[in-house]
Symmetry: D4
Subunit: 226 residues, 8 copies
Amino acid sequence: MAESPLDGVAELDLGRGARRGYPEAVYCEGKTPEQVRAIAHRLAEAYASGETSGTALFTRASEEHAAAVLGELPGALHDETARLVIWPAEPPSPTGGLVVVLCAGTSDLPVAQEAALTARHLGRPVELVVDVGVAGIHRVLARRELIDRAGALVVVAGMDGALASVVAGLARSPVVAVPTSVGYGAAFGGIAPLLTMLNACAPGVGVVNIDNGYGGGHLAAQIAAR
Amino acid sequence: MAESPLDGVAELDLGRGARRGYPEAVYCEGKTPEQVRAIAHRLAEAYASGETSGTALFTRASEEHAAAVLGELPGALHDETARLVIWPAEPPSPTGGLVVVLCAGTSDLPVAQEAALTARHLGRPVELVVDVGVAGIHRVLARRELIDRAGALVVVAGMDGALASVVAGLARSPVVAVPTSVGYGAAFGGIAPLLTMLNACAPGVGVVNIDNGYGGGHLAAQIAAR
Amino acid sequence: MAESPLDGVAELDLGRGARRGYPEAVYCEGKTPEQVRAIAHRLAEAYASGETSGTALFTRASEEHAAAVLGELPGALHDETARLVIWPAEPPSPTGGLVVVLCAGTSDLPVAQEAALTARHLGRPVELVVDVGVAGIHRVLARRELIDRAGALVVVAGMDGALASVVAGLARSPVVAVPTSVGYGAAFGGIAPLLTMLNACAPGVGVVNIDNGYGGGHLAAQIAAR
Amino acid sequence: MAESPLDGVAELDLGRGARRGYPEAVYCEGKTPEQVRAIAHRLAEAYASGETSGTALFTRASEEHAAAVLGELPGALHDETARLVIWPAEPPSPTGGLVVVLCAGTSDLPVAQEAALTARHLGRPVELVVDVGVAGIHRVLARRELIDRAGALVVVAGMDGALASVVAGLARSPVVAVPTSVGYGAAFGGIAPLLTMLNACAPGVGVVNIDNGYGGGHLAAQIAAR
Amino acid sequence: MAESPLDGVAELDLGRGARRGYPEAVYCEGKTPEQVRAIAHRLAEAYASGETSGTALFTRASEEHAAAVLGELPGALHDETARLVIWPAEPPSPTGGLVVVLCAGTSDLPVAQEAALTARHLGRPVELVVDVGVAGIHRVLARRELIDRAGALVVVAGMDGALASVVAGLARSPVVAVPTSVGYGAAFGGIAPLLTMLNACAPGVGVVNIDNGYGGGHLAAQIAAR
Amino acid sequence: MAESPLDGVAELDLGRGARRGYPEAVYCEGKTPEQVRAIAHRLAEAYASGETSGTALFTRASEEHAAAVLGELPGALHDETARLVIWPAEPPSPTGGLVVVLCAGTSDLPVAQEAALTARHLGRPVELVVDVGVAGIHRVLARRELIDRAGALVVVAGMDGALASVVAGLARSPVVAVPTSVGYGAAFGGIAPLLTMLNACAPGVGVVNIDNGYGGGHLAAQIAAR
Amino acid sequence: MAESPLDGVAELDLGRGARRGYPEAVYCEGKTPEQVRAIAHRLAEAYASGETSGTALFTRASEEHAAAVLGELPGALHDETARLVIWPAEPPSPTGGLVVVLCAGTSDLPVAQEAALTARHLGRPVELVVDVGVAGIHRVLARRELIDRAGALVVVAGMDGALASVVAGLARSPVVAVPTSVGYGAAFGGIAPLLTMLNACAPGVGVVNIDNGYGGGHLAAQIAAR
Amino acid sequence: MAESPLDGVAELDLGRGARRGYPEAVYCEGKTPEQVRAIAHRLAEAYASGETSGTALFTRASEEHAAAVLGELPGALHDETARLVIWPAEPPSPTGGLVVVLCAGTSDLPVAQEAALTARHLGRPVELVVDVGVAGIHRVLARRELIDRAGALVVVAGMDGALASVVAGLARSPVVAVPTSVGYGAAFGGIAPLLTMLNACAPGVGVVNIDNGYGGGHLAAQIAAR
């Protein structure tokens, strides 16, 4: 669990993979591209020396952040919609239960994609279903078989966030609810769906932060692990 | 449109029935039983003299308020669940479209009852359906024929408030959404379902104040009037 | 009620017109122009094949969104003030009751226009009155005859949002209240008029989301339908 | 400007009358009856010795607080509705402009009474008008002559708080707006009318704290002083 | 999946056990003891007839609610601390992974007990650890072996809610975070720990509503099921 | 009191000067420059025809708004700091009591200047004092003589907003408190000083909206009018 | 640093005195008297055995809590105003700098007393000054010599909370600011003074939770320790 | 304590150093570069004439602000990360206790740097430790010896803000907690860590405003002064 000070910039928790089973992700927002590059450089060294292993995830990466990472970890996957940079680009062979990501509207897609990619690269099989909001309830009811097969579900929704309650009322497996900032006015940047999900009238719903697709995918991957 | 000062206590808007088609209701909360009694006395006079006509509604009435009204308007209907006192006790013959009141949970019943009684005594035919929350979505889907027949719908729900979106996605007629203070913690006294309903992903939803069964029933009665 | 997957982008609810009497609108915010173009393309196909019919509305459309729609649905109406794209450009012959849209201030005009265009293209006769805020109460009192003729009213107001209460105290028909984000400081992006409208001391007011002119116009069109 | 420590309980600002023209009031809430009694005792001494003069006001006084004051300042006026104890019981001869207190609903009366009594005992002529909310706009319009005569107006309203904007749009003199906690749900204990009044679309409105009838009456008395 | 209308009071979702694997719980708050008794009566019938099976949970039960249930389902377990009534009193033989409930302070115990009893009666082995808040970090570090053995963890904390982040940084298994209303002032009835948990700097945390021990225990039971 | 429809853009309240003694101001934010130009054009006509008279104020005017006004009302005063355009450029001869504007910090100067110019052009003598925040309490104490001379005071402050309480504790005349959005973090765009001012421990404070220098100056001008 | 499990109720952090220099306090709110008694019993044992030493503080203690403690630790000091139980009753000989507690109003006295007693029993000399709010600024200015002598200051204030800024602008030593829930309406249970203090325009202010007199006194005792 | 009016722009509190021991800092946000330049010019004069002495700090300085200061006080230190300009560039010889600044994540570095530089230039020895958030608790535990040596600690953290509680549970010396706006969604611009820190379950934590590195460093410098 050796650590490097990175010149007063960061102290990587390289032992996290060994300790928790999942490696530390790098949150790029609020870091300069230079800081991100230094972190990627240190990770590249650690992978090369065998000091650490597994997948490296850079979340909420701007174009500049992504370029900095790709300079140090060539061949990494950069998904612009999800604002993710992932190394290595190829996900591991899927193991564990199926993670089903259900997305209420097209505008929620970036967050849903972030969740799906995260779960996939942490080792789970994943299916992503888009635009099945409750205004047309037949759309989610048509996925009941898929819902039954899931080992964990991720529901991504903004505005009224009502999809989480409906899905949890149908599913055997836990639902990870990810509110999004999609909407306007009294959606209050995601507060509306956040509260909806925290108050879901069906049990079996665990909520993560607004727009936190990474957290949703990570938690679902843990739940479906075995 | 004569008015009486009621000794510096209230100034009844006896012309409201003629002006708006629906009489003024008396909001009891924050008034003393003596003040409510004085208002009921003045209304009894006005009915007797033909100065006004139609239904008198006393909302959010405590036991003491109700006793005060019944002393002045004997034979009035007192519904303790809905905290309503209504005079006369008999509703008018129903006219206009059907008002369907859908209530998500048993704990929402007092507000739903207030809405149903209000709409009924303002002249509409009313049906009340209890405990059809979205955690068991088959319950509301089993009412699709009733929903299709409605001229106006009132959806009463606390906690996640998700029922309004689902119903509005199914209904041709407008949905009046009444959030309730049922719930705890992050329900924040009804803020959670209020925001859900304001952000309903289906259009055709008009929201009234938290726990405002009277307002919900009144608005539905107006919508279904013809 | 056939549906197209749109390549994992959206799942149009083409049956909504048959189910609810009003077609699904496309909310453009948060979608890329490419996604909106793909949706418009699918709608054009569905109109051509007779799979669906009626009016197509694209709400909160930027210049880029509008260009994408116009490329697929040539001849559509683009109203920049209301940020609406509507196809076909010609509204249907008006039926049902009159929808009166009352706008408190000039700065509320974009939202009021969105409401008026929506109601008009969903089939109602519409009149729009601008700048009748309660600071000069004679302005709204001068419209009492128009208010009496309305089958439904839409009140659009920011800042204190007081116009909704005054109008509802005068009108026989239901009032749809649309708070706007016009104002600053303690207007809190529309929270002030939203709360005013939810607490209107006159009954008969249904509130929609802040700046939701589309929702206000849609609900009024439903109310005034017959 | 001599001061007494009151045994570590309070340090009366007996010079305030000389400094500001209006004496310090004693806010009773959160004080024990014993503490209030000690303060009243000290004031009685100061009046007797000529150390101070003018009116003594005890605000938000419970029955116990009032009894404590009356024990020390016999003959004081105790108004239970307004929760005020005032000494001496007789107000001074009125001077300055007329203070008009307008109260939207009967439930707002305690706060309006607190304002009216305060202004009256600080020396102004006062008129109190009850139950002129905007749901029946003719009621306030019928008071235009009174409004024109006022040197200062106090508007007391809960729920939508819309009366302040309407009155300020009619009045030459400044309007002191007092939001009340009357209402429920999204009135949020007075936040709704507070925001309405802060965002009044007519200028000339100064807002005081929720339920602060004392503050409203004091400010109006100052404004109308000459 | 037959259902009984319960005289317009409730519509039990007796099929939920078959559909989701876990039966519906009865939320007592806001229901009268009579309504709860009617529901318990219907459940007793359904158990007797074989219409449903499994554990019946009555949450947030007052003394009166509990008496009503015990009259219909004699021998049920009533835990006053957790405000739970459970039938049958004996939990099933534990299967699946271990659920570890960690409680930050003694004042959080009622919620932690609710979580532990729920998970136990839904079939999991459970261990409860009390008073391991981060102000004495050695207390939680001393439980690392237990944390490693868990199939799911429930962290119950009020005030700063910081325990969830620390535990998630140590654990392989998912953490269900339950904020409590323990605290005062800027704890805002549980908002403070709720926000802390939603913003946990370690991934793998799913949050449920404030004081929702039932929901936390249910979700953990699902996660640790296999 | 003739009015012009301004082509569906605005309905000027030209009678406001006669009715209230102060003319309507034009709030530019949210209006296009073209709309503002049309309003200025109509005002120019009304001044020319004698239909109205007095000062015209355009508030929160951008450079584009100002250019539009100056094209129609040449010679108007444009103060960029205060974002005001005023016609005519010369204020009337001062009458009434002195308005003293006290500004807590240099960053509050734009709002203070807006207040001072408004009061000056509505006819009062005005003095502006800058940077007398309570962190150096000697600065405001050094202005006691000026405070004593004032007929009305305007206190403009962001951050802690504490200056209003201190000044009201010293002054005989009413204090108009204008909170500003100066500050960051927990200043919450002006909520912090707004609440401070609403809770001022000294009476005699009337609060206007955050950053509402115009409203503060207008109210002070009314108070000091005679 | 031995610890006792206290039968699943609490896990005392007896090593805290050795680790931090100040012993753990027992927060009574939310604990049953029986739980508090068990904790007091364990502490009595630990003092008797020499396992721990120093002062024991029980905060926010009701009458029942106090009785439970006094049964186990006879002779302890019970201050009802401050809701504190302290053992031993005699404070240690004072060392370190002077802690000055300044209290804005009489209603803030319980919190100020809690701060003063805490600092005194943690070993500092303490002076308490009551009722020096900024509405009469001469009261605090008259204490400048005392302020200069302080090694740490505690400012306790509700409502506008302005006293903290004024004192910090005068003092060399750090100011610990304790907002209280004294006030009503827009004081929002202490949010108003909390925000004022967080935004103090003078530096050198550290804020603790609303009504947290214990925390304020503890922090001041640490600051003034040497 | 002579003061200069600075042409109606600012009134420097040049006596603050003598009065409080620490000079006034200049808050640049909301000031124009010209205003900042005028202030710097006045300070340069005052330093030259001996009217004042000590360190000059310009906080939250943009590039333009910094250029303006450097033009008047050549050789000043400009730290772009911390947005500070400090004159003279060399800090004084360190005296007093050690200030340890602990920073939870790399994104919090700008605020931590502002705190460290402020404490250093106000005369304390300072050590800065970066990226020791509680998700890897071993990182902060590895600094226990440093924590023990500190005379004051500054904890800078966004998101869950949990580091402050953990450190206060370990430290003898006071902890100054600085919440940051790092995070997204339910971090609400720093509200989440602010509430966490105000509710820290360990005593000895004083909180300053969100992102207020200057205030945190200043308070720590005062605490560690002797």
